[in-house]
Amino acid sequence: MASRRLGSPAGRWIDRSQPLGFTFNGRRLSGLRGDTLASALLANDVRLVGRSFKLHRPRGVWSCGLEEPSALVDVDEGARRTPNVRASRLVLEEGLSVRSVNCWPGVAFDLGALTGACAALLPAGFYYKTFMWPSWRLFEPSIRRMAGLGRAPTEPDPDHYEEVAAECDVLVVGGGISGLAAAAAAARAGARTMLLTGAAHPGGALAWRADDEAQGLARAVRQLGVRVLMRTLAFGLYNHNLVAACESLAAEGGELPASVLRERLWKIRARRVIAAAGAFERPLLFPDNDRPGVMLAGAAVKYAGAYGVACGRRAVIAANSDSAYAAARELAQSGLEIVAVIDRRSEAPKGETASGLRVVPGAVVTAVAGTRAVQGCRVARLGGGPRSGQGEWLECDLILSAGGLAPAVHLHSQAGGKLRWVSESAMFVPDGAAPGLVSVGACAGVFSRDAALAHATAVGEALAKGAAAPTAPVGGAGRSEPITCVPGRTSAQFVDLQNDVSAQDVALAARENYRSVEHLKRYTTAGMGTDQGKTSNINALVLMGELTSRAPAEVGTTRFRPPFAPVTLGAIAGRRVASLYRPLRELPAHAWHASHGALFETFGDWRRPAAYPLPGESLEAAAQREAACVRHHAGLFDGSPLGKLELFGADAARFLDLMYVGTMSTLAIGQARYGLLLNEHGTIVDDGIVARLGDRHYWVNTTTAGAERTLAAFEEWLQCEFTDLRVLVTPVTSRWGNVTVAGPSAWRWLEASGFEAALAPHSMRHMTLRESALEGVPLRVLRASFTGELGYEINLPADHASALFARLWERAAEVGAVLYGIEALQLMRLEKGYLHVGSDTDGTTLPGDVGFARGIEAKAANFVGRRSLSRPASRDPQRLQLVGLKPVDGRTALHVGAHIASHAPPAAIEGRVTSSGLSPELACPIALALLAGGTQRTGERVQVYHLGVMTEAVVVRTPFVDPQGRRVHG
């Protein structure tokens, strides 16, 4: 195949001594070190690269940057497959393998192209007008298959990503001469300065030219200590000048290690931001302006200069701006034949005609020949109202579009800046500065080099000194008319190439009154592709303005939403993947439990033993065995995650009275009491045990899940409402391990293990706390019980928890004790009818609903949430109240989540089962339920519904076991 390489000096970025092999749709091709995939494909004379989104039209390389709408490929296969990569941004590597997107079986012969054949049936928004009968779901699957572009990988990403925070006084986005000049000036003025550019070379549009000034500025910037990040694309500007940027670190495709650091997310806090993002070239509209071989003029110039690639042999330039002539000259110099410049404007710039170049003013391209590669075009004068296919035939294999320039105002707009329309050059430019951000250079509409350099320098210096930035000397882009399409009935003139939005579609939107720029975008999908309309947005709205006789400024632009260019999800998540997504906590004695047969499960953010099954034993069976053993002998449980707080201060007692439903101020030192914590709405948020350690010193146990919540609530009330109370709240959860010993033989066990006699049940009563010690290790022993048995919660410094477990376990056999997990504990507390906040309550449960009505009446003092308990809804006798349930047949389980109703569904809900289990003690299923008016319904029979099955149950009083509560006393 003919090579399209040009001889030196063309191709400054390529290394002709380093050929690279790659495959395109399975075809082995060769390029050079320094190529992008696009330049390599063009060098191999590959014109047909991809297929468009809707009509599957053949498309080729269109641009030379991130604005590329057409040449998209899937890179690599397997876990590293990366969809929708722009060929114009993909750096060529040895062994790179890519496939065209959105075509089947292949890009050359694509069945999807059938849609192109019936394009006339598929105008903008056609799907809103049909596929309604019998139902959209009938058509949807095939349409989904036709839509989409690349294919998502199916395996987890083997590569990783990191996030870095940085800050600076002045952040410059863009590495062109304006950006470099601004950065140099800022640094010279003493500002901590950073410069980001998505490119691999400094100099922006001049990067590939031998431009001494640009290179000089680049050197100066480094010498001045500016922190320069190459290959780092700033994609978003967020609140308080946070600039998010993504740095590419690894090659895309080719041979790579098993896992690499692929991209780095930069989060940069900048006092002031300078946008120097340059401009995009704007294409012209003419019939079949999407054919492979039609491309942006500036792109062809860059492919020649930077990559030494001729995008064609004979080029026709369709112009609407002065920039076309510079392009023509350069391309001619690098050896392309310029057939003619077809200038839409009635007169071409002075002198251009004289230069020997053929110029046809006041003319347009009326037809393009060639479906998969341009073969020629027809051009005609505008005057006579040309019709499609009319005019002079020009043979060419390349048609270049030079429609003028569009400043990249994205960051300015993201920062909340306004835009104004400059009609002379037909472009939107920033209207002054945006909050925290100033634009310089092309993205500010400043195109004359000297003016841009002077302005950028002044801006850099001003921002560094905290002064106001000088206004931008907009101009220098030359004349350019608003783009309009070729009049008359023609074949499609594409505005948005990726989404196949044509001028005709825009006209349809206007006709149907989707005239707001947002409606235009949403109805036609113009600018909604992966290129985000970089080369189509302006044309679309200018066209809409013309069709509805409004000035472009009046039509306005759509909001520029971040990101500026698509960003890898992995980069945004950074390290927050797999186990680092959210911390999972382990018990101090985790290893000990693991070595003693614990079956771990995740409860909240803790890994905890659910049970300690014997070989071949199920979780349920283990829980039954463990619970039974604790009831009759003893058991050992790890309660370390229980929340623990120490309160200190003269007002600690008063404060706790305000926080809890129970009264804590009347506790004697060493005494403990159960407490229910409410929020201001009166609903239960936590419960726990409060013990008095001293006159102004309390110990508070919260639930595991409630530890953080309770601390936050205490602090908020103390700091925000009860500011006169002198109380210090110190979280000590992690300091203390909790080794819980329960069961009738608990004390015998502890005694045998060397605990002091003062802890014996007769000298230390239930619900008391003692400070003790064992071999010099301080202990806080709490006589409390969530099992209903004699119980000791031994709190000790967490590092000693394993040792205490081991020490007790040595003598477990003597008392026939077991290790028990959460499941057994749940069974036992259920048998006792003890409340489990979060299971038997939800965000609507009030203390009165779970049996604390009397306790509240008894309490005189006010407490948080109390007032809410006297609202009408809180006093409703039909509220859901916690009761016990037993199946009438004594066998059928009552599942958690089962609902109580008078008959099979649909039916009015009377309540639901909140806790359930098979009682080891009673050997029958028992349950707790929230039941409407439940406390008045003891003895009543109710129907319990669960997934299609009704079970009859009877409402009973709790506790189910040991109603007198004697066992806790040992």
Binding site: Y238, L242, K267, A712, E715, C720, R866, R871, P872
Partner: protein, 93 residues
């Protein structure tokens, strides 16, 4: 992501703080009517403009403090102690 000026710790990213909504809401006495209590619990100015609100530096020093913030631009107009009176009125645009 905003940056807030913790009175103790200085400028920190928004992700170190929690916001508890409108501040300076007087807590009615237990004798308050259901209507007064409902107002206190639920009804808010929710201004499109300057909002006086309560933040806690939960990842830092744990301090609760007040902030005057514009709810459209997110501009921070004032940061002041929990017990201080508002330095400026809450105003809507």
């Amino acid at each position: 992501m905003m940056q807030l000026e913790c009175p103790c710790c200085g400028r920190r990213d928004e992700s170190e703080f929690v916001c508890a909504g409108t501040t300076h809401i007087a807590r009615p006495p237990p004798a308050a009517s259901d209507a007064q209590w409902g107002e206190y619990l639920f009804f808010r100015d929710n201004p499109k403009g300057v909002h006086l609100e309560r933040w806690r530096h939960s990842y830092g020093c744990g301090l609760w403090f007040n902030v005057a913030r514009h709810t459209v631009t997110h501009e921070i107009l004032a940061v002041y102690a929990m017990t201080d009176p508002p330095p400026l009125p809450a105003v809507a645009d």
